[in-house]
Amino acid sequence: MSFNSLIAIALGYVIFLFAVAFLAERRAIAGHSNWLQSPIIYTLSLSIYCTAWTFYGAVGYAARSGLEFVTIYLGPTLMMVGWWWVLRRLVRIGRAQRITSIADLVSSRFGKSTQLGIIVTLISVIAGTPYIALQLQSVTLSFAVFSQVEGVSWDQADFYRAAVWVAIGLAVFTVLFGTRNLDANERHHGIVMAIAVEAVVKLLALVAVGAFVVWGVAGGPGAMLARIDASEINLWDQNSGRWIGLIFLSAAAFLCLPRMFQVLVVENADERHLHIASWAFPLYLFLMSLFVVPIAVVGLDLLPAGSNPDLFVLTVPLNQGQGGLAVLSFLGGLSSATSMVIVATLALATMVSNHMVVPLWLRLQGSQHATMSGDVRHVILLSRRLSIAAILALGFLYYRVSGGGTALAAIGLISFTGAVQILPAMIGGVFWRGATGVGAAMGLITGLLIWLWSLFLPSFGADAIISEAVMTNGPWGLNWLRPQALFGITDLDPLVHGIMWSMLLNAGMFVIGSLVTFPAPLERLQGAQFVNVFDHSNAAPTWTPAAAGAEDLLIMAQRIMGGNEAQAIFEQEAKAQGKAGYLPEVTLEFIERLERELAGSVGAATAHAMIGQLIGGSSVSVEDLIAVADEAAQILEYSNRLEEKSKEQERTARALRDANAKLTALSIQKDAFLSQISHELRTPMTSIRSFSDILREGEMSTDEQARYAGIIHDEAVRLTRLLDDLLDLAVLENGQVVLHEQTGNLSDLLDRAVRTSGAYDGRLTILRHRPDENFNLTADLDRLGQVFINLISNARKYCDAATPELTIKVGRSSMGAFVDFIDNGSGIASDNQALIFEKFSRLTDGSKAGGAGLGLAICREVMQRLGGDVAYLANVAGGAFRVTLPPAKNPAKLEQT
C-alpha cells in the first residue's frame, strides 16, 4: 500500500461523504426526509461521542491502565439506560423553545440572558478547542504511520502541513452543509447522514481489526482469553476514586458537550427516537469496546517495545501484512475524527455567532435595525461561516502551540471536565424553578476558574504557564491554593481532584446564588416553562399587548428568515384566525410563536431583544406575572376539582375555556380594526375641526380664507369616501352582497372604467390593445368595473414616472382570461407586496399609500366574491396588477365586429 494511494483513498472517501451529505440534503429539500429521520440514523449520529480519541486512544488507554477505559463508555451507557428521562426532558424543551445550542438552552432558561449565553459559549470554546486539536493530531499521526511504512518519516513541518489541509477540508465541509439554511429546526440532514455513515465505517473498522486479532492472530476466543491472562496488562488494579469520577464525568459530558447537545437535542426529529437509542446506542458502545483489550494485548505482544499503543489499531494489521485491513482502520479513525470535528465546529460556531457576534452587531446597529437595516439573515450566515473557520483555526493553532505531543493526548478528559461545568446550571435550570440567572452565572464562573486553575493551565506542563514553584507551594505562598491540592486536600489523583472541587463549588455557588437572589419576571416564566414542560403546553404570555403592527413584525421576520418562510408563517396564522392574506392580528400567542420561530435562527436572547424593540420594550411586568400566576393557579385548582368529579364535566370546562379563548381572540381582532378605523376617520376630522376653528377666529386674508375652506371641503370628501368604502367592505366581508350578473363586452367595460377613474385628465397615458379585449363575459359587471376603476386611479395617483403610462393587457393563462394593469413607475418594494391587499396597510418605504388604504382590500373581496382573483405581479418592472376574470361564464369569444 503506497502512501499516495492512501491519499487517493482518503480523498475518495471524503468525496463519497460529500456525495452522501449532498444527496441527503437534496432528498430532504424534496420532502423525502422520512428515512433520514429514522431512529437508527439518530442513534448512529450519537456515535460522534466516539472520537478518534476513543477509536485509537481506547486501545492505548487499555495498554497503559487496563480496564479503566471502560468508564468512558459506561457513563453514556448509564445515561441512556437509566437516565433517559433527563434526555427526554431536554429534547422536549429543545423543541418547545426552539433551542439552537446548549448556550441557548442556559441563556433561554434564565430569562433569555445574553451574558449567560456568552459565558457558556466561552466555556465551550475553551474546552472544545484542545479536543479539536486532538482530532487533527490523530489524523496526521495516522497518515504518518503509513508514510513510515514506506520508509519516509515525517518531520514537524510535514505534520503541520497535513493538519492545515485537514482543517481546511473540514471547514469547507462544515460551511457547505452546516450553513445552508438558518433555522435550526430544519436541521442539517446532510451532516447527520454523513456522520451516520461514518459511524458505521468506524464500527466496522474496529470490529474487523478485533475479529482479525482474535481469530486471525490469537486463534479463537479461548486462546485469546488465555493470552489476556498471560499478558502484563494489569486489568483489575483499579483506583475506585478515578472510576467513580470518570463514570460521572463521561455521563455528564455526554449531556454537556456542545456537539452531543447538537445531535441529541437540536438535530432530534422525534422524541420517540430516544426509545430506540436508549438500547441501541449502549449496544453500539458495547461493540466499540468489545475488542479493545484483545487488540491492546496482541499489540503489546507483537510490536517492539516502545511502540505507541495509541496506534495499535493501525500498526497491528500493518505488522501482520494486512494492508487492506489497515486502510479500513485508517478510514475508521478518519471517520471518528472528522465527524466529531464537523459537529463540534458547527455547534460552537452557532453559539459564537448567536451569542457573541450577532448581539454585538445588533448593538452596533443601534435601535433601528429591526425594520430597516440590511439583510440580517445574510449577516448571521456570514458570521456563522466565519466562526466555523475561526474555530478550526483555533484548533489548529492549539495543535501547533502544544507541539502535538503527549500533552495533547492527556487533554481529552480535561476537556470533558471543562464542558461539564455547564451541568449544574443546565440540570438545575430544567428541574428547579428556584434557580436564578445570578446563581447560574456564579456557578459557571466559579467552575470555569477552578477548572482553569487546577486542570487546564497545569496541562501545558510544568513551568509553561504555571511555574513549578506555584504548583508545589501555591501562589504567593498560599499553600491552600496549590492547583492540585486545593484547600489542603492532597493525595488525590489530579483529575479527580479537579472534577471534585470544580463541580462541588460550581454547584454550591449555583444553589447559594439562586437562593439569595430573586428571579426577574421573565426568568420566572421561562423557569416555569422549562420545569413544567410536560405539564402544560400552554405557555404564559411573556409580552404585554402594545403597539406593534403585524407589518413591522412581518418585515423583521422576512429579514431574518427570508421572504417565503416568513410569509408562510404569517399567512398560516392569518388563516388560523380566519383571515385572508399575510397579516394576522398581533395576538400575544402569535408574538410568542414568532419569537420562538426567530429563536430557531438567532437564539432566544437575540430573538427576544429584537421583538422587544418592535413591541416597544414592554416585556412582561411583575403585575402581569402575578395576574397570570393567579389566573393559572385558579384554572388549575378549578380543573383539579372538576377532575375529581367526573371527566364529563372536565370536557365541558375545556369547551368553555376554548370558547372563552375564541371570544378573546375575536375581541382583540375587533380592537385592532376599530383602532385603525378610528385613526383613518379622526385624521380628516382633525383638519376639518382645526381649520374651522381658524376660520371662526377670523383675522386673515381672503386668499387664506378660501384656501382653508378648500381644505375643509377636500377633507370632508375624503371622509365621505372612506365611510362609503367601509360600508362597502363590511357588506362584502359579511357575504351579504347580491351580485347582479350581466353579459357585456370587456372592451366597453374598460372604456367606462377609464372614463370614470378620471384618467382622461392627461396626466396618465393609457395604452391598450383593443382586439384582445373584444369578447363578452358574464359577471357582475358593475363590481368588476369597480375593481378596474380602483386599479386605474391607483396608477394615476401613485405612478411616479416622469411621463406616467399605464398598459392594459388582456391575456390567457391556465387559470383563465386575465387583465393586467402595468404602469411604468417604480412599483412596490418586494417586502411590501404581501401587504398591499390588507385593510389600511401603510407601506414601509416611506411612500404614502394615501387614501385610507381600503381600495385594494375591496378589490380583493370583490374578486373573491366574483370567483376570480386579483394579485400583484412580482418580477415585472413597474407597478403591476393582474385581475383574473371569473372562470365559469367567461370568454365565449365573439366574432370580431
Binding site: M372, H679, R689, F691, E697, G846
Partner: protein, 122 residues
C-alpha cells in the same frame, strides 16, 4: 425670534393647521414628516419643544419617544404626543415612555395653544 417647536407629523393639512396656530402665538415652527429620520432631525437642532405623532411612516412615534428619552441631549425636551387611534393603552404607553402630554385627534386649537403655553411657563 421666538422659541422653536419641532412638529413631527405626516399629514400635510394637520401640519399646516398646527403651524398656523403656533406661529400666531410667536413660535418658530419646524416640521418633519418622516419617522425614520426624525431622530437625526432632532439631534441636528435641539428644539425647545416637540410635537410628535404616533403613526408615522417608517417608524412609530413611541420608538422615537423612547430614543428621545434615552438621549442626554433630548431627555428633558418637553414632548406632546398626538394620536388618532384614541385608545387608553396608547395614552398609558406614551406616559410610561415619558411624554409630557398626550392629545387625541381631533383637538381644538385652544387646547393645543394652552398646553404649549403652560408647558413653557412651567
Amino acid at each position: 425670534m421666538g422659541k422653536r417647536v419641532l412638529l413631527i407629523e405626516d399629514e400635510p393639512n394637520i401640519i399646516e393647521a398646527i403651524s398656523f396656530i403656533l406661529s400666531r402665538d410667536g413660535w418658530t415652527v419646524h416640521t418633519h414628516e418622516d419617522g425614520m429620520t426624525a431622530m437625526d432631525k432632532v439631534l441636528g437642532f435641539p428644539p425647545d419643544m416637540i410635537i410628535l405623532d404616533v403613526m408615522l411612516p417608517g417608524r412609530s412615534g413611541f420608538d422615537i419617544l423612547r430614543d428621545l428619552r434615552g438621549n442626554d441631549l433630548t431627555k428633558d425636551v418637553p414632548v406632546m404626543m398626538l394620536t388618532a387611534r384614541g385608545q387608553e393603552k396608547d395614552r398609558d404607553l406614551a406616559m410610561r415612555l415619558g411624554a409630557n402630554h398626550f392629545m387625541t385627534k381631533p383637538f381644538s386649537n385652544t387646547e393645543v395653544r394652552d398646553f404649549v403655553r403652560d408647558l413653557m411657563r412651567a
